[in-house]
């Protein structure tokens, strides 16, 4: 890849990190929870983005970040108070900055109306305080200047000299102690002058004291330099740019017949040659080749400095970098591809180990104690490696939650409601791929919560609630899964209305008896959309059913709980990683399938007496006090006709979202083990009733069943809404 392109990518990656820091810092400041360095960190984040943007000539970004940076600079010097108004402006500015970065990355223009307004506000914050910002002109030319590329140093910036012939310039140069203290050297300066023309320099050692009075770090030499050059004075001054202020410098450009200068030189020449001290310099014709001799002259004097600089030349040249990006702990960056490949390989290892175990047992060797122990250890080690590798991809949900903070702001603004986002458990870690795929569902749920759940401020106060609504986003680990909650303190689900809509859309029958939970779950049915006026925000044709499917595609579950007047809570339960699953291996009509263990409640061998027909084409099984619908897996998957004698199979009792229980009828249970999940969708697509695939110990592919899908399919096929009927009710 083109190196610039690679750095450009690095830049945008870095911007993402800076933007995250920026938002976190600003929010902490607003909440009064900032640390002493937070303001500086926030400033640095914007400063950093500005720096890189300048290098890539992203003018809009440079301009905006400059205005932002100026405000931040004032805040950190306490020249500007971080009042709520200022904080709000800065938080908006952070959002805009993020948009500008995204636009720059995608190489498109952001509509100027989007950001110029906020930029103007930032500017006005600065003009109120003492004096205008050093480089914040109204038309942004200051920032634009910085974005210009500079012409190389050696080209004279002045107009070309009036005469075609070079002129003689006399330069009187006497370095002060400080010049050397800052590690400046005269040799490079003479070298620069030599680039401008021909140099004749005379060193005057008059000021050099006797040895016993000599300060090794002192500067005693001065030079008179005759420079024949066609460059103007500014080019000459540029050679002295770094040392101006640490020396006496006189540049005089005499008339074209510059005889005078040389006379002076010859006088000094006479004076110089009569000095016997070893530090006496010679008149040197300053062709660059002679640099070594001058170097020895000056280094004889400033011995201490010279030894330092020469030893630095022989310093070790390590090209390694220090630990990268130590924000909190040392980290390294690794390409995703490498991690993915590693994870795949580990997946293969798990399969292979399972296969090996199986073959060994089949070969009859598995009973020998040493072999059995060896196999056990192998399995144990493999599992540990697997967990370790999975953890590499695990990331805290914090950035995701921070994105939601912005969504909350935007939706609250556009619906005219006051809403605050509270988060908990931001450090909870999930597999990166899961985090990415949660963004859309979470966004949609939060939009819903604010749009439909949280009431308008006036309504809230009239109900005795605080005017500002709250959306709570929490994450945590619970029994091997990640649990994420999205809760609002709004009006809760309007159950009568939901039921009415469901009836109207033919999703349930008119006289269906539903529990509250079941009504709440109607929201997840495809084709259900509460908004009869489809609102701008949530009603983009995306219903909760899509959210549910996204969560399920991640191997997760979603459920809802709601209290009228108090609010609603969505609970997501996700596997820690996408890659493995604990499953029960079953046989159906000669084929092998896997049922996720998390869905299974128990297994039951039906007796002929416990199976009862219900209505047309349905059967239920009696389990303790209830009757559960039987779902014949073989027939649902289209493999065969339903088992007439259900009691010849095994019933696996499963629980689906919403708490409904069903019995999956299979031929036999083979095993229970951890399997590696292989995607079907990558090369094929979606198959109803099938979540994914796995490779068993014998190398063959087995399908992993999507329990919820199977159950729903069955349910939608039947005409009435089946549910458990309590005996004796």
């Amino acid at each position: 890849m083109d190196p610039m392109e690679s750095i450009r990518q690095t830049f945008f990656l870095e911007c993402e990190e800076q933007l995250t820091e920026l938002e976190a810092g600003l929010l902490a400041l607003e909440a009064g929870q900032a640390e002493p360095d937070t303001v500086n960190a926030v400033f640095r984040a914007v400063h950093s983005i500005k720096g890189g943007a300048g290098a890539f000539k992203l003018h809009n970004l440079v301009q905006f970040s400059h205005a932002f940076e100026t405000v931040l600079d004032r805040v950190r010097c306490s020249r500007l108070q971080a009042s709520p108004h200022v904080m709000k402006t800065m938080i908006r500015a952070a959002d805009i900055l993020s948009d500008l970065v995204a636009a720059a990355r995608d190489q498109r223009e952001l509509a100027s109306g989007a950001w110029q307004g906020v930029e103007g506000e930032l500017r006005s914050l600065c003009s109120d305080t003492e004096g205008p910002a050093p480089a914040a002109p109204t038309s942004g030319t200051g920032a634009a200047e910085e974005a210009f590329s500079f012409t190389p140093a050696l080209i004279a910036l002045d107009f070309p000299p009036p005469e075609p012939q070079p002129s003689c310039v006399t330069i009187k140069f006497k370095p002060a102690d400080e010049l050397y203290a800052k590690a400046n050297e005269v040799v490079p300066i003479f070298r620069e002058l030599a680039r401008l023309g021909s140099v004749a320099a005379v060193c005057c050692p008059d000021a050099v004291p006797h040895l016993e009075d000599l300060n090794p770090l002192g500067a005693y030499l001065s030079w008179t330099i005759e420079l024949k050059t066609s460059h103007g004075e500014s080019a000459i001054r540029e050679a002295f740019e770094f040392v101006e202020g640490d020396c006496l410098l006189e540049i005089s450009c005499p008339a074209p017949d510059a005889g005078l200068g040389f006379d002076n030189a010859s006088n000094e020449l006479g004076a110089a040659t009569s000095q016997p001290e070893e530090e006496a310099a010679k008149v040197v014709d300053f062709a660059p080749r002679e640099i070594e001799s001058t170097a020895s002259a000056t280094s004889a004097l400033s011995a201490a400095q010279a030894s330092a600089s020469s030893s630095s030349g022989s310093g070790k040249a390590e090209t390694g970098a220090g630990p990268g990006l130590n924000q909190s702990q040392p980290t390294i960056r690794v390409d995703f591809e490498r991690v993915d490949r590693l994870i795949n390989l580990v997946g293969e290892l798990v399969i292979n180990q399972a296969m090996l175990s199986q073959r060994i047992i089949e070969a009859g060797v598995g009973n020998s104690p040493s072999v059995a122990i060896g196999l056990d250890e192998l399995e144990h080690l493999t599992r540990e490696i697997q967990e370790g590798v999975m953890a590499i991809r695990a990331q805290p949900v914090r950035p995701l939650f921070q994105r939601m903070a912005r969504i909350v702001r935007e939706v609250a603004d556009s619906t005219g409601k006051a809403v605050r986002l509270r988060t908990e458990g931001e450090a909870t870690e999930i597999d990166k791929t899961v985090v990415e795929r949660l963004a859309d569902p979470l966004t949609h749920m939060i939009r819903n919560a604010i749009d439909h759940g949280v009431e308008a401020p006036e309504q809230r106060t009239s109900l005795g609630k605080p005017a500002e609504g709250q959306v709570r986003l929490t994450a945590g680990h619970k029994s091997g899964r990640v649990v994420i909650e999205v809760a609002d303190d709004g009006a809760g689900i309007d159950r009568p209305r939901v039921k009415a809509i469901a009836i109207k859309k033919g999703l349930i029958s008119v006289d269906a008896q539903l529990t509250d939970t079941e009504i709440d779950n109607l929201l997840f049915l495809p084709g259900f959309s509460t908004a009869s006026t489809v609102s701008n925000i949530s009603g983009r044709g995306v219903g909760m059913d899509v959210v549910k499917r996204s969560i399920q595609a991640l191997g997760g579950r979603i459920s809802i709980a709601s209290q009228p007047g108090a609010g609603s809570t969505f609970t997501l339960s996700l596997p820690l990683t996408l890659a493995v699953l604990d499953g029960m291996v079953v046989a159906v009509s000669g084929q092998t399938f896997v049922i996720p263990l998390t869905a299974i409640i128990e297994t039951v061998k039906p007796s002929p007496a416990s199976v009862h027909p219900l209505g047309v084409g349905s059967r239920v099984i009696a389990v303790r006090e209830s009757f559960l619908p039987i779902i014949d897996v073989g027939s649902e998957l289209g493999i065969r006709e339903p088992l007439t004698a259900a009691h010849t199979g095994v019933a696996i009792l499963v629980e689906t979202e919403g708490g409904a229980q069903n019995a999956l009828l299979v031929d036999a249970i083979q095993d229970q083990r951890q399997v590696v999940i292989k995607s079907l969708e990558a090369n094929y697509g979606q198959t109803p009733g099938v979540a994914a695939a796995t490779i068993l110990g014998d190398g063959r592919v087995a399908l992993i069943l999507d329990v919820d899908a199977l159950v729903n399919r069955r349910r939608s096929e039947s005409t009435s809404y089946e549910m458990p009927i309590a005996v004796g009710a």
């Binding site: 795949n344 997946g347 293969e348 399969i351 084929q591 092998t592 998957l637 289209g638 493999i639 292989k678 995607s679 079907l680 990558a682 090369n683 094929y684 697509g685 979606q686 198959t687 109803p688 009733g689 099938v690 695939a693 490779i695 190398g699 063959r700 592919v701 087995a702 399908l703």
Partner: protein, 155 residues
Amino acid sequence: MKNRKSEAETNSQEFVVFRLGVQEFCIDIMSVREIRGWTPSTPLPHSPQFVRGVINLRGTVLPVIDLADRLGLATVEQTASQVIVVVQIGNRVVGLLVDAVSDILMIDAEKIQPTPGVSTEATRSFVVGIIGIEERMISLLSLDNVLPMGEVEAA
């Protein structure tokens, strides 16, 4: 997918030729990843007739398509002598079940003739040309239409 070589070289491409029943077909070698012997596949419920199932290809789950079935030709019982041609179509990797691979040929672009008018609409969507070599007629297959994935999700 087309591999246009420079002007200096002859304008020819490499093709993998295989047999379905009595007909011969060929596809651009650039889309062929590997050729495997037949292994039994795990059937996919509710899948189209021509999707035989999935197999394990070194850890990846690979769908296997009975090409004869897909093209509407007479199908035969799967036998161990059949061959699976693993191809890449877009960003999917799938296996095509064929009777046998007969050849790998370098064919001049000029030798490719348009499909004769006798063919049906269906055939035309797969066969984008024919090639005459000695006395054989080989139909050039375009894989893009072999997997119209939108239809795969059966009702």
